[in-house]
Structures are given as structure tokens and as C-alpha cells.
Amino acid sequence: MIQEHDSVIVRTVVRALVPFIQLFALYVVFHGHYSPGGGFQGGVILAATYILIALALGRAELDRRVREGVVLLLSAVGVLIFTLAGVLGPLRGAALLDYAVLPVPGVAGPPVRGLGILVIEIGVAFGVAGALTVIFCRLAKAGEGEEEDSA
Amino acid sequence: MAGDTVAAWSPALALVPAGVAAALIRLSSRAPALRETWSLLASGLQAAVVLSMIPGAAAGVVLETILVELAPGVPLVLRADALGCVFAALSSGLWVLTTVYSIGYVRGLHEHAQTRYFFCFALSLFAAVGVAFAGNLLTFFLFYEILTVSTYPLVIHKETPAAVQAGRMYLAYTLTAGVALLGAVAWTQALAGTVEFRPGGILGPLPSGTLWPLLGLLVLGVGVKAALMPLHSWLPVAMIAPTPVSALLHAVAVVKAGVFGVVRIVGYVVGPDLLASAGAWSAVAWLAAGTILAGSLLALAQDNLKRLLAFSTVSQLSYVVLGVALGTPSGAVGGIQHIVNHGVMKITLFFCAGAIYVATGKERVSQLAGIGRRMPVTMGAFAVAALGLAGVPPAAGFLSKWYLIRGALEGGQWPFVLVLLASALLNLAYFVPIIVSAFFRPPDEAGEGIAEAPATLVVPLALTAAASVLLGVAPDLPVAFFSLASRAAGEILGGVVR
């Protein structure tokens, strides 16, 4: 189990920084469809904050903030968002992943594609952030497991 | 010459009984009687279908079935021409008798794994008829390989280490040969653009340097099953199989598939003209002549009766090869006739060997003293077949040898006449002592209480012995073997023989 970091400076700085990093992550996600950034990058930054929490404030603190099962579920939901947005195309008579036909009221033309990409990016962000956090959690926990039965 | 080709289902129909029987036998593994019934029914049906085609084939009508395409441009075609009918009629006719004999044999010895035995037997006959009727090289190869694989379990039937060893040797020889044949088939396809059997051959003038390697591969491919020396070693070893297997497969179906293959390839793939132009005739003929003499000599040295018969088979098979390789009409007739005659006589001898084994447990020539008095029918049949094989008239062996000698003289190849005569003498040299000691030497004391084997064993061998005499006296009865042989010889060499 990862313990709380000894240095009070580290703990305080992390506590203070995490919300800003998370805000930045959201910024990166929501700009992805027309500027550098996107779901993957934003998702990674988001995941980094949780890893930071675990490293600086201890695993217990991370578990207090988010449950691993919920994170896993969120990542699955992210992928589902992606898939559903993609399958909407065929359902509305266009190609797979064709966002031009997404039903967005009040917007028409190329901007619809942009919105479609945004939906996808949000899905990706959920998926990536969730998956990376879970990978970290599992790997961090794995080192402490009991010895495997050596056959 | 080659008669009309008519599309018909009969050639394929001839395959059905054995194939279906194999499946049924496998499924009725718990009912011995049912299993044997299927075998008998299938053999009878197969013989009937094949025999029904013979008058037509003898008159020059070729029935043909084209089944699925094996490969683009190469159909699975079954064609009942004269040559094919000879082999098919021989195999299926003798299968009927062998089935009866098998039933007696496996029951008499309480053999294990009888389901597998009858299953593989039916499959082998399926393949043998397929080989007979194959209309192109690929079809031929297909059935040839099925024949190899389906006889393997029969060779290793006893499952003793010696039998397994024999099975390995059998596979090593036959599958290597199969590989050589496959290579030759592909090469033929590339050279000729077709692999169809056509009277007179399909290979035109070949690029220089290809004929001999190709011929070598082809002869290696079929020569192993035909037990041409030095490819014969598997045959005596395979005698470890149960006697009916040795009788039908290693005296008739498998080895005859080999010599039949030689005839097919010489006559219908390579073609006599090509062979003559390259002087390959005499190479094959001398190979055969060497095998005839060496096989006979080796047979002299055997004490185990079945091994003796095996070496005799090695020797006799090459009569067929020699006959065709003489390149004269009479020789070809004699050779093709000898497929039948040797089959009938050799199966009689094997039946006798098996009957003796079932009745007395004896396998060695030296143990047979006086046995002729206890088992008169068996040893009588043995004597008829053995003398016939040596060429004593009126049995069938005389007739085929007569034609062979005539063929050799026609071609002015008198050395082969000497070979044939020498071989006849050698035949007598190894068969006569057996007969003499069986009938005229006093039995050893342990021989008390030995009687004739059960009827299921004796009746088939008596019938085949009778058939071998009948074939010598009236070669067109009951089956028009002689007409078929002369028509086939005519197809190959382009002339009609009377």
C-alpha cells in the first residue's frame, strides 16, 4: 500500500495543484476537436492527477475519492459513448463514424462534425483516464500480493 | 481401339458399397454379426456392379463418371475401361471370398479389434476399386494414398512391437513412394498440361533431360507397391499382418495396385512411343527380370511359409511389369492376364497358409511334414495353385507365361525367355518340396488330432483353386478376363491381339 508522502510541502502542493490540473485536463479535452489536444491527451492528464494523489497523499486517500470499480465502469462507458456515436452513422444511413449526420439541434454543416468529434473525444477521455488509473491501481497493488503458488 | 466413352453412374456406384459398408461397420462396432453382414453384402454388391460392367468394357464401351472437380481443370473421374475392369473385377471378386474367409479366420483366432479390421478392409477395397477406375493421375493418386493409409492399421493389427515396427517400415516405403508419385504427377501436369489417362500416353516429346528423372519418379512412385527390387523389402515384413490381409491386400489389392499403376503409367501416361524412343523399355524390362530371378532365389531361402509366399509374390509381380515392358502385344496380354492369374493362385496359397495356421498354429515350411493327409483339401488346393504358379498346365499360370514367352520371342528378346524359364524352375524348386513333404512324409507325433480347418476357410480356398484351373482352361469364363486383357493391350500398343 502506498503511504502518504513524508513531506508536508509535497502534500500541500499536490492538494493545491490537483484541481487546477484537472481543470486543465478538461480544457484539453474540450479543445480537442479544433486545436491541439483531445480526448487521449486530456484523459492522460486527468489520470495523472489521480496517480499524483495516490503517490503524494497515499493510496487510502485515492480510494476515499474514487472507487476502482466505478473508474473501471466509467472507462467502459467512455468506450460505449465512442461506439454509440460511431454507430449512429450507419443507423442514420451514413458510414460508420460519420458525424455529419448526428442529430444536433440548431447546428448544421461542418460544425456538426466538430461536435461529433467532441462527443468522441469525451468518450475517449473517459476511457483513457479510467483505464490508466485502473492500470496504475492494479499494478501498484499487484506488487504486494501473496506469492503465487509455484507449480 | 479405344471404344466409345459413355457417361454413366456405374463406375461411381462400384465405390459405394465399400464406402457405405466402412461407415456402417464403424457404427455397428458392438454387433459382430451385423458387422460381418455389412462386409458380405458390400463385397457381393461391389462384385455385382463391377461384373455388370465387364461385357461392355470387353466390347469397348467405356463407362465414365465425372464427380466433383479435384482441382480446377482436374476432375475426379472414374472410368471403367478394359484395364481398369480387370483389376476391379479381380479385387472385388476375391473380396467376396476373402470376406467369408476372414469371418472364419478372425473367429477361429478370436482376434481383437475386429471392427477396425473390417472397417479398414472395406476402406481398402473402396480404394482399390477407385485405383482401378481412376481416370486421371490425380484421382489415381487420391485412391492410391487412401489405399496406403487404410492398409496401415491392418499391417499393425497385432499391435506387437514387431508389428508396429513393420507398420513403420510399410509407411516409410509407401508414403515415400506416394511423395515421389505426387511430385511426378505435378511435373506431368506442368509438362503435359493434363494428367488424364489416355491410351498411348499424354506426354509428348519432352525437353531433353526430363524423361529419365520423371520416369524415375513415376517408377519409384508405383514401384514400391509393385515390389520392384530393390523397393520390395516392405512386403515380406508386412506379412506379419493377419493372413486374410496378406492374402487379399498383399497378394492382390495393394501390390496389384502397384503393377496396375506401372501398366497405367507405361501405357496411358508416358506412352510406348516415348519409352521406345528413349530406350526405356529395356531398362524397365531388365529391372523386372532381375526382380523375377532375385525374388525366386530369395523365396528358396525362406522357412516361414508366408514370407516364402511374399518373395514369390515379389517375383511374380514382375512378370506383369516385364510383360508390359516387352512392348509387344502378346507380352502385354500375358502381363495383364497375369495380374488376374497370379492374384487367384496366390490368394489360394495364402488361404491355405492361413487355414493351416488356424488349424494347427504352424507357420513354418519345415513343420508341414505329413500335413497333407490331415488336411487333404487344403493341401490339394495348395498343390494346384503352387504348380499353376510355376507354370504347369492346365492351371492359369501356364497361359500367362505362354503369352509372355511369345511376347519375348515376338520382340526377339530371347534373354527374357531364359529368365522366364529359369524362374519357372525356381518356382518348382521351392514349391515342390513343400508339397512332397506334406503328402509323402510321415507326420510328427505332435500332429495328432489335426483336422481340416472350418468350412468358412476351406470353401473359399477350394473355390479359388478351382478358379485358377478354370482360368487356365477357359480364360474368358466366368469373367471375360482374356478379352479385357487383349483389349487393354491393344489400347496400349495400338493393335488387336488374338
Binding site: 473501471l72 467502459a76 468506450v79 460505449l80 461506439t83 460511431g86 454507430v87 452513422g89 450507419p90 444511413g93 451514413a94 458510414a95 460508420l96 463514424l97 460519420d98 458525424y99 455529419a100 503465487e148 509455484s150 507449480a151 | 466433383v68 472437380e69 479435384l70 482441382a71 480446377p72 481443370g73 482436374v74 481383437h112 490425380l138 493418386f141 487420391l142 494414398e145 487412401i146 496406403t148 493409409v149 492399421p153 499393425i156 499391435e159 508396429v164 513403420r168 509407411l171 516409410a172 508414403l175 515415400t176 506416394g178 511423395v179 515421389a180 505426387l182 511430385g183 505435378a186 511435373w187 501436369q189 506442368a190 498440361g193
Partner: protein
């Protein structure tokens, strides 16, 4: 609607299954296996439908998101890819069915297992439909990563095997990517059809040779081409039976398909590669693989390891056919993709069933198998005969086309190698058959020929896929001509 979207759905259906598996696993673990089988069967059904559509309508090109190539991502189904899709998804679906009983007794592990298995299938199907080189890479890695993880589920030695597989597989994928990068630099395109137009105009054949060399080596590693096969024997041997049965038949085939696709559809085959001896080298590498794999297989005492080396040998046939690059040899190579998938699947299915019922994967454990598991043994016999090349089993016919191709291509030595490979297969497969059918078990020696000997046939869930493959091998053999001329477009002169 369905038939319009076949190319993406071939990959999306198993992918959806892979996503749903963990979700379902959290609620109803028992339903995960049926879900996986359904997804696999649906993929196979779609593949068949795709094959029919392609044969009826011609090549299907699909533009993801409506973006036209060369900018957009294109998925392509032509007869070759549809054929490979049928082979891979068909055997894959049967392997998923088989995996149910094989993975039994691992409660709680179903969801990750079947999720990964479907992910693997999705990756392979993606490789097959991908119309550009980069997506091919992505799907290749999706399949490979799922494969690493699946092999690792064996625990113990499988972990080390999986690690080695991962390292080598990643090197292979990276080299492939490097080659693709060079191609992209030269042409500015990644789309296969677009590249095929641009490659002939290239000025620098040397850079092209480097690029193609990287691609071939990379894919060679993935397809286990000797001498790049180092990962393969351990991975197949130590993976759990259900995994070996899934991975062994199909993963290397998809890589072989990708290699053929790039060499012929992108680089233009023999004419396009011109003087570069690449194809000849590939053909000879295949020949060496046939012999080396066969010789190593003979030395094995563990059935799965024997089968693994036999895979090395059989992949050599496919490489040889690709390298010979004439119509007959290519028909043989593609037919062998199907045949080898089926027979290797059949044998690995049987190996798993035998290990479960008879106590172990060593050849000696197979003793007495024909009595205890007659149907399984029958399937092994059929697959073994196919491996050896005895007609009418399918394996014979792929070898026949390869042989005709070798003879036509003027390569008598390679023709000899093809034939010799058959003989090597005789030796190693008959070792298996002798143990399975002839040598009795020690305990049977005492029991004699007791008919009451315990029958321990594989459970139906294992037996059905086994029998399906056994029958399939024979059916493909008998009806190979329509496949070869109708689907693979090979016609006799």
C-alpha cells in the same frame, strides 16, 4: 442496411462483444461464454455474408466517417480478404465455443478471458479488412496485445513465454511501422490502393527495398516465419489449452495474409518488385522453415510443442507460396491459410481435450486415447492426414497447388522441399497417432481388452467444434475446386 456496412462490422461486432463481456461479467458471469460464442458466430456469419456479397457484387470499399481516401480511412473487402475473414472468424468462433468447457473451473476469470479473446478476434478481423497500412498496424497490435495477455493467463511458465512473445512481437510491430514510415515518406500516402499507384513511380528502389525489408521482417516475426519464430513454440506450449486453440490457428494466418496483401496489392507482386530478390528470398525462407520446423517437431515429446513446431513448418508452406508468386502457388498459399487454420485448430482442440481427460500433454499421455476418446481420435487422424497431405483431406490440395506452382515456377528444389515436408509430417504425426491409437496405457495392460474401459470422451462443448473442424477439413478437400477457382480466382490454363 447490414450488407452496406459489412467491412467495419466484421471488426466492430467482436469489438462490441469484447466491451460487453466485462460489463456482463460483473452481472451474470455465466452468460459471458454464450455472449462470446454469439459474437464469434455473428462475426463468422457476417464474414460468410461478406464473401457472398463480394463474389456477387465485386470489391466493397468502405470509407469510415465518409472521408474519401487517401485522406480518410478505407476498409476493403475483396475476395481474398473475405476468404481470409471466413477462415479466421470461422475457426475463431469454433475456438470460442471450445473455450467454454476448456476454461471451466476458472470461476471469475470468464469475463477477462472472453473479453480478450474477442478483442483478439476483433484485431484480426480489423487487419483483414484494413485498407491502409497504418490501420493494419493498429489492428495488428490490438490482436497481439490481446494475444500476449491471453498467453499469460496460463500463469507460471506461460508468463515467461508471454513476455518473450511480447518483446519479440513488439519488435516485429515496430519494424513494420518503421517500414511503413519509409513508404509514407516516399509516397505521402498510406492507403493501399493509393500506394499501389504511387510505388511504381518511385525514383529510389533502394529506399523502397529497405522499407519493404522492414515490413517483411516485422510481419515475418508476427507470422512465426523461421528463423523469426523464437516466440512461437513457448507461447503455444505454455498457453492454456483454450488460448492455444484460439491463438495457434488464426493469429499467424492473419499476419501471413497481411504480408501477401502488402506484397501483392501494394507492391505489385513479382512485376512490381522487379529485380529485388525479395520474393525469392521469401520462398527459400519458407522452404527452410518447412524442413527446420518439421525436423524440430520430430524431436518433441510434448504434443503442444510438437504442434507448435509443426506450425513453424506449415507457415513455411504459406511463405513459400507467397514467395513463388505464381497463380497456382498463391492459390495454394491461401488455401493453406484455411486448411492449416482448420487442422491446427483441430489438433490443438484435441490436445486440450486430451490433456483434460487423459492427464497431460505429453505424447505418452495420449496412450489409450482411441478407446477413451474415439471421436476425438478420429478427428486427430483426419487432421494428421491433412497435415501429411493425404487426399482427400484439405491439406493435400493446398500442397498440390503449391507443388504445381513450384514446378511451374521452375523451382524443382522447392518442389522437393514441399514433398519432403510431407514426409517429415508423416514422421511427427505418426508418432502422435501411434501413441494415441496403438500403445496401450500402462493400466490397460492389466485391464486387458475390457470393453467396460471407461469412456472419457470430451464434453459436447469441446467435441462439437472438433467434429466441425474434422468434417470441414474433408469438405474443403473435396470441394476445394470451387473455392480455388471461384474465390481465389485461380483457373487452370
Amino acid at each position: 442496411m447490414l450488407s452496406d456496412h459489412l467491412p467495419p462490422f466484421l471488426a466492430v461486432v467482436p469489438l462490441l462483444g469484447a466491451l460487453l463481456a466485462p460489463l456482463l461479467g460483473a452481472v451474470r458471469p455465466r452468460l459471458v461464454h454464450p455472449l462470446a460464442v454469439a459474437a464469434g458466430a455473428a462475426t463468422a456469419g457476417l464474414s460468410l455474408l461478406a464473401l457472398r456479397e463480394v463474389l456477387a457484387r465485386g470489391v466493397i470499399r468502405y470509407h469510415l466517417g465518409g472521408w474519401a481516401p487517401p485522406w480518410g480511412i478505407e476498409l476493403v473487402l475483396d475476395p481474398l480478404s473475405a476468404f481470409t475473414a471466413v477462415a479466421v472468424s470461422g475457426v475463431g468462433a469454433l475456438a470460442l465455443l471450445y473455450a467454454g468447457p476448456a476454461a471451466a473451473g476458472r470461476e471469475g476469470r470468464e469475463a477477462p478471458f472472453f473479453g480478450l479473446a474477442l478483442l483478439l478476434l476483433a484485431g484480426l478481423m480489423g487487419m483483414i479488412v484494413a485498407g491502409d497500412l497504418f490501420n493494419l498496424f493498429v489492428f495488428l497490435e490490438v490482436a497481439s496485445i490481446a494475444g500476449y495477455a491471453l498467453v499469460a493467463t496460463g500463469g507460471g511458465r506461460a508468463l515467461v513465454a508471454a513476455f518473450r512473445y511480447l518483446i519479440l512481437g513488439t519488435v516485429g510491430a515496430s519494424l513494420y511501422l518503421l517500414g511503413v514510415g519509409h513508404l509514407y515518406l516516399m509516397t505521402g500516402s498510406l492507403n493501399m490502393a493509393d500506394l499501389a499507384q504511387r510505388v511504381p513511380e518511385l525514383a529510389s528502389p533502394r529506399v523502397l527495398a529497405v522499407a519493404v525489408g522492414f515490413v517483411v521482417i516485422g510481419l515475418g516475426i508476427k507470422m512465426g516465419l523461421f528463423p523469426l519464430h523464437g516466440w512461437l513454440p513457448d507461447a503455444y506450449t505454455h498457453a492454456p489449452p483454450a488460448v492455444a486453440a484460439l491463438i495457434a490457428p488464426i493469429t499467424t494466418k492473419a499476419a501471413a495474409y497481411a504480408l501477401a496483401r502488402i506484397l501483392f496489392s501494394v507492391l505489385g507482386g513479382a512485376e512490381g518488385l522487379g529485380r529485388a530478390p525479395l520474393l525469392t528470398v521469401l520462398a527459400w525462407a519458407g522452404g527452410v522453415a518447412i524442413v527446420a520446423g518439421g525436423v524440430m517437431a520430430i524431436r518433441q515429446t510434448d504434443l503442444r510443442r510438437l504442434l507448435a513446431y509443426s506450425s513453424v513448418s506449415q507457415m513455411g508452406y504459406i511463405a513459400l507460396g507467397i514467395g513463388l508468386a505464381n497463380p497456382a502457388a498463391l492459390a495454394g498459399a491461401f488455401l493453406h491459410i484455411l486448411n492449416h487454420a482448420m487442422m491446427k485448430g483441430c489438433l490443438f482442440f484435441a490436445a486440450g481435450a486430451a490433456a483434460a481427460r487423459l492427464g497431460g500433454p505429453a505424447l505418452t499421455d495420449l496412450r489409450g486415447m482411441h478407446r477413451r476418446m474415439p471421436w476425438t481420435t478420429a478427428c486427430v487422424v483426419v487432421a494428421a492426414l491433412s497435415m501429411i497431405g493425404v487426399p482427400p483431406a484439405g491439406g493435400f490440395f493446398s500442397k498440390w497447388y503449391l507443388l504445381v506452382g513450384a514446378v511451374q515456377g521452375g523451382q524443382p528444389v522447392l518442389a522437393g522441399v514441399i514433398l519432403a515436408g510431407g514426409l517429415l509430417a508423416v514422421v511427427y504425426m505418426f508418432r502422435v497417432l501411434e501413441h494415441a491409437c496403438l500403445v496401450p496405457r500402462d493400466e490397460d495392460e492389466h485391464a486387458g481388452s475390457d470393453p467396460a474401459l471407461e469412456r472419457r470422451e470430451a464434453p459436447p462443448g469441446m467435441l462439437v467444434p472438433l467434429l466441425a473442424l474434422g468434417v470441414g477439413i474433408l469438405a474443403v478437400g473435396i470441394w476445394n475446386a470451387p473455392i480455388v477457382s471461384g474465390v481465389l480466382g485461380f483457373t487452370a490454363r
